[in-house]
Amino acid sequence: MTYRNPPTTPRKSATFDDYTLSEIRRAAATGIYDIRGAGAKRKLPHFDDLLFLGASISRYPLEGYRERCDTSVVLGSRHAKKPIELKIPITIAGMSFGSLSGPAKEALGRGATLSGTSTTTGDGGMTEEERGHSKQLVYQYLPSRYGMNLRDLRRADAIEVVVGQGAKPGGGGMLLGQKISDRVAEMRTLPKGIDQRSASRHPDWTGPDDLEIKILELREITDWEKPIYVKVGGARPYYDTALAVKAGADVVVVDGMQGGTAATQEVFIENVGQPTLACIRPAVQALQDLGMHRKVQLIVSGGIRNGADVAKALALGVDAVSIGTAALVALGDNDPRWEAEYNKLGTTAGAYDDWHEGRDPAGITTQDPELMKRVDPVAAGRRLANYLKVMTLEAQTIARACGKNSLHNLEPEDLVALTIEAAAMAGVPLAGTNWIPGKNGF
């Protein structure tokens, strides 16, 4: 009888996990980095790491469903003659026509208008679908200036100068040729079917002093009526917020690294920028240091999913949040009803992110006429409105439990953190302690 050593259980590397191995094989086979849509998928410190302290004796709660909890917010009151007045502090983030289909843009407009909030154009110009169905529409002023024109600038309710995006601070865009339909090509003044590269910086200004002059020009063109937002990717939120304020912004938008994109390198999405949670306190601190908190409004976006996220962002000093990916999911993106078709594309519902390929079974991130028909703008708009209503009710429920008659009365004192990391990033105590790591700096 021979003795055999018992076999050891096969063990895969934590460093070279299955996904990493597949990426190496894919890169070796194709010779190009992976491009995809959506935002960072890795686990990041997030709002889940914060908890609210409901009222007991030391705080007095409001009666749920009985006592009023205000949700309205005014954006752009610093300089604009016509600030934006929203019923809820949740806006729809900029997403381009070209990346999204026309029916999807119309649905966003319908849902937002039903909810009393605004939508935002994107890197592809203004469409009639969106303008026609959005009571309040923010017009993005992007480095590419695709479709930028005087008429649409004046038809907008606010202008958002996009300097950066959470998924790719410092990066430009790439809309691959297969999504360039006749209409998209015409709006972008480029031939059909070629890759459309968007510049990473504005062609006609560099630095904050130039930005100030650019904002002056936009105000002059629009007769100082419209709020000017400045959007930055969440990388250096303290200094970028301060410089945006210095340049004259009415509203600063900070987009954390969970923020989505239409098509960007995976390595960029997952490795550049800071988590949304980490961006808020420095941005608020910048406004407070300048004496401009609540005078220049702050919008934060990137991975906002529910009313708790909204309430937590507001408690940390934000005036409103923006949603992009979540809004697309509400419309029907990545819906399990299309599972068989996702499988044919080599993926599954919930993981589909090849938005740049234009084959979205849900008809949202595509220009394919047949797929687009799957989006009913009225029904999808209603779904978005329902979702926004739920988020608002959730945030109100939490705020009342904290004794607040306005969502904007939530404050850092209402929060604790579950992890040291989240406590340090948000500037609130670790649960069960009065310890705020890094309180004297960040």
Partner: protein
Amino acid sequence: MPATKLSKAATQDHASRIFDLDVSSLRELNQALHNLAPGSNETAWEVLHPKGSHSVAVGVDQPVSIDVRGSVGYYCGGMNSGSTITVHGSAGPGVGENMMSGSIIVKGDASQYAGATGKGGLLVIEGNASSRCGISMKGIDIVVHGNIGHMSAFMAQSGNLVVLGDAGDALGDSIYEARLFVRGKVDSLGADCIAKEMRPEHLELLQGLLDRAGITGVKPSEFKRYGSARTLYNFNIDNADAY
């Protein structure tokens, strides 16, 4: 260099409306221009003492003529739609940025980004232009009597850039469908920009541009044409060095 003589879009039946920026504010000037209704008789405007002001006559959308007596700062004539603006001096960065239609004539020099992202119309610079002239142009026609700086026509999508003098480094880097005509020397061409044959239709096109800019005594045959090699239109890993 030959001076530009454009036919006035506006008639001169009425006396000019004069805005002296020593007395009136920039806001008053631009608001008055924006208040113009279609068919207004106020077709001739004159701006005195601009003294390098930014955003002079931006967002004008009526076919009026505006004579600016002096030099301007950033973004003069930005997003112009249909007016004829003449700067009797030099222009700062971004003159005629995102112009939609109409024309802008700069009698002196222009700084960086002249005609950036312009969608249409004609921009004439009688002196020299600095770097990034015509950057990301999208249909505008630009005629420069003198020289242009580096990285001009970067990512130029459509329209025509005519340079009677010389061009700096990296002309037409990442160019799409715009046409570049240079009479003098080019320091270097950018990625995907190549010299192209001057066919009869290009000579005809160029003659038309010179005529529109009021330039005489210069032959289209004296120019070389540059445009896209179209090798970067769809990503190919074998072209990675060009990115």
